[in-house]
């Protein structure tokens, strides 16, 4: 565990995040072109999906797979209830509480990827199917968050807006979401082609992976710091809960992972998934389905506070917890 903490803080991935964060703090004009950042996130999702699928093609379906999937979906559905209750207690209105709850029930792809890489460097190898678990955890929280906002927010916008969309409603949005399609689609491709056909594409998807992750985290650092300092909506209480959520949710994730029989590495990763909060898929869904919510608040919390916390503290912490319980 100590080695993991050390590895974390001197890993190029984390150092590039810190570099981006500091660049924004000193108000540098450094910025990563928008379409290049999107290209990198598409690359990262294809790469992890593909590698996860290839791994399943090799190892076959493990007994842990179903437990992990069920645990993941359950966490994504249920975490928003707890988050919502806490937020209401610190006097967030119901609409925003529902939106923020959806962010925390869902997951951050980059936090997951960073954790898997850092764990691997310290000898803690999680399984390829965890990519599938992550994809399954992306969207259930959106449903819970909307239900809570609608039930307690005295508004029926959530309902109408979602169902009046061309292409037909929330279910469609949840299932055809770009990141779900990319992750599960690449996962399926990897599963079909197997390791031999993966070989010729591995220089792109395996060889460059860690380097691209570094550059992407540089951008994450810039954006996280700008979110944190330029948003006017963030209060001390909200910062506190945005640190509390990953600790508690992560601990629950690790515990449930251990309980349903996942090995140490997979439990730690499930903890990271539970602890992480979405900042791409869910914000977009909330703008459409819950437009009265203020995206500034939820993003400042998930991207400005929880993401850095997880990268620097959470990832080694959940590995330590999983080691203790496992």
């Amino acid at each position: 565990m100590e080695s993991t903490a050390m590895q974390t803080l001197t890993s190029p991935v984390v150092l590039f995040f810190v570099l981006g964060f500091l660049a924004a703090v000193v108000r540098s004009d450094l910025s990563i072109p928008e379409q290049f950042a999107k290209a990198m996130s598409i690359y990262l999702m294809i790469a992890i999906g593909l590698k996860g699928g290839v791994e399943i093609a090799q190892t076959g379906l493990d007994a842990q797979v179903l437990s992990a999937a069920a645990a993941g979906i359950g966490l994504s559905f249920l975490i928003p209830f707890a988050v919502f209750a806490v937020l209401r207690a610190v006097s967030t209105d119901a609409i925003n509480a529902g939106a923020i709850a959806a962010h925390y029930g869902s997951v951050s792809v980059v936090t997951f990827v960073t954790a898997v890489e850092l764990y691997r460097s310290s000898g803690l190898d999680s399984d390829g199917f965890m990519v599938g678990v992550m994809a399954l955890m992306e969207t259930p929280a959106i449903i819970t968050g909307l239900l809570l906002a609608r039930r307690f927010g005295g508004s029926d916008t959530a309902n109408t807006a979602a169902t009046s969309r061309p292409g037909g409603g929330l279910a469609h949005e949840v299932l055809t979401n770009a990141s779900v399609i990319l992750l599960l689609g690449a996962f399926a491709v990897g599963w079909i082609i197997g390791p031999a056909a993966y070989e010729p594409v591995s220089p792109l998807f395996t060889g460059l992976f860690k380097g691209v992750l570094c550059v992407f985290l540089l951008d994450m650092g810039l954006v996280a710091a700008r979110r944190l300092f330029e948003t006017r909506a963030l209060t001390a209480k909200l910062v506190a809960v945005a640190i509390g959520f990953p600790i508690v949710n992560g601990a629950i994730g690790v515990a449930i992972g251990t309980l349903v029989g996942l090995n140490v590495a997979n439990s730690a990763v499930l903890g990271v998934l539970a602890a992480s909060a979405s900042y791409i898929a869910v914000p977009a869904a909330m703008r459409l389905s819950l437009p009265e919510a203020n995206p500034g608040v939820s993003l400042a919390m998930s991207l400005g506070v929880t993401f850095p916390f997880n990268i620097v503290v959470g990832i080694p912490l959940f590995a330590a917890m999983a080691n203790m319980l496992g």
């Binding site: 072109p33 928008e34 969309r165 900042y279 791409i280 703008r287 993003l299």
Partner: protein
């Protein structure tokens, strides 16, 4: 110079994420077409600055431009008015001369 007539030029500043709703309204209003331009950055006293370089896309805005007759412009304005308040959209309507105005 060819004959020109006066038509309305509508400009709607809206969240990029909410464009499907704006487009739906334009289609319902009978307006013949629309064009979308991305906003690269912006700011307001209410909510501070934002830039499209933020990869989350959560603050991204676009401008929808639609040329229309006065009646269709009015129809769209009536329909979209509630969103101006609830979603913070901005709508402006200007007069412009166009050639072959019968298309709008």
């Amino acid at each position: 110079m060819p004959d020109t007539v006066t038509r309305k030029r509508l400009e709607i500043l809206a969240d990029t994420a909410l464009l499907p709703r704006v487009v739906e309204m334009i289609e319902r209003s009978g307006i013949s077409g629309y064009s979308i331009v991305r906003v690269a950055a912006g700011g307001s006293r209410a909510s501070g600055k934002w830039s499209s370089d933020d990869f989350t896309g959560a603050s991204a805005k676009s401008i929808v431009i639609a040329l229309a007759s006065a009646e269709k412009a009015e129809a769209l304005t009536t329909e979209i008015a509630p969103l101006l308040t609830s979603q913070g959209f901005l709508l402006t309507i200007g007069d412009v001369e166009v050639v072959r105005g019968e298309r709008f």
